[in-house]
Amino acid sequence: MILKHMLQYSPDLDLAFQALADPARRGMLERLTLGPASVSELARPFDMTLSAIVQHLKVLEAGGLVRTEKVGRVRTCQIEPAALSAAEGWINQRRTTWEQRFDRLEQYLNETADAAEDKDKQP
């Protein structure tokens, strides 16, 4: 299953998936796809303490999904899609290509099985 294999790409991606495996963090990320936000703006829709939000942010940062920057007294958060697009774009495409090739290899081996059996059976 392709999605499960995605988890094995790299430790970075494992962290990214860990970060995404929480509805609050996905909600925060969706908010950030609209544009940068301060921590308090990010916290507003959630029924959570600010420190809980900050904890979630740390997980998102560790997963490489969000970048935060403190300007004066305000910490601004923005999405960091580079890590995602890298893994998603080329690596996923590459895996799919090889999966398709191996589907055809399987088909080829099945189609040529009869002809090969005699040869294989040589002692």
């Binding site: 995404l20 995602l84 697009s85 774009g89 590459r94 191996f102 290899l105 099985a113 294989d120």
Partner: protein, 157 residues
């Protein structure tokens, strides 16, 4: 200044094939057999092909839609153990743009009359700013993927 990025990643594919390791190996070693499965999309055409299957030998293949982007595979073989292992490196170009450079290991093991194939690719995947529009798409894709993944996990639980 142009921003460039590279992602290092490893992925692994495992398959159990209904054939002996010798037959699976042959499907990698002989061009005629390999051409039966090592192809692009069904309507793509091959514009270049060479295969020199020995240690130090090269293999090339260019495929793509007629008149479209050429996907060029350029490999060098480093280790060949018949019916057991093949190690090669390959570069992937889309037209003139280098997309990735990888080390690939194919391991074959007999398992009860079948063959366990383990494919491992370790690569440097190169990404240029020209790919930027894909980023947003990529994010949405990943969101969908995560949802599907979590749903499948929930279904299994």
């Amino acid at each position: 200044m142009t921003e460039r990025s590279v992602t290092h990643a490893t992925f692994c594919i495992e398959r159990t094939l209904s054939a002996s390791p010798a037959r699976v190996f042959k499907a990698f070693a002989e061009q005629k057999a390999k051409d039966a499965w090592f192809t692009g999309a069904p309507h793509w055409v091959r514009t270049e092909r060479s295969m020199d299957f020995r240690v130090g030998g090269r293999e090339t293949s260019s495929v793509g839609e007629p008149g479209g982007v050429q996907h060029r595979f350029d490999a060098t073989y480093y280790d060949i153990v018949p019916s057991e292992r093949i190690v090669f490196t390959y570069a992937m170009h889309l037209d003139e743009t280098l997309m990735s450079v990888s080390i690939t290991t194919i391991e074959l093991a007999a398992v009860g009359g079948k063959t366990r194939l383990k494919f491992t690719e370790q690569g440097a995947f190169l990404l240029d700013p020209a790919d930027a529009p894909q980023r947003e798409q990529g994010t949405h894709f990943l969101m969908d993927a995560v949802e599907a993944f979590l749903a499948s996990e929930a279904a299994e639980a």
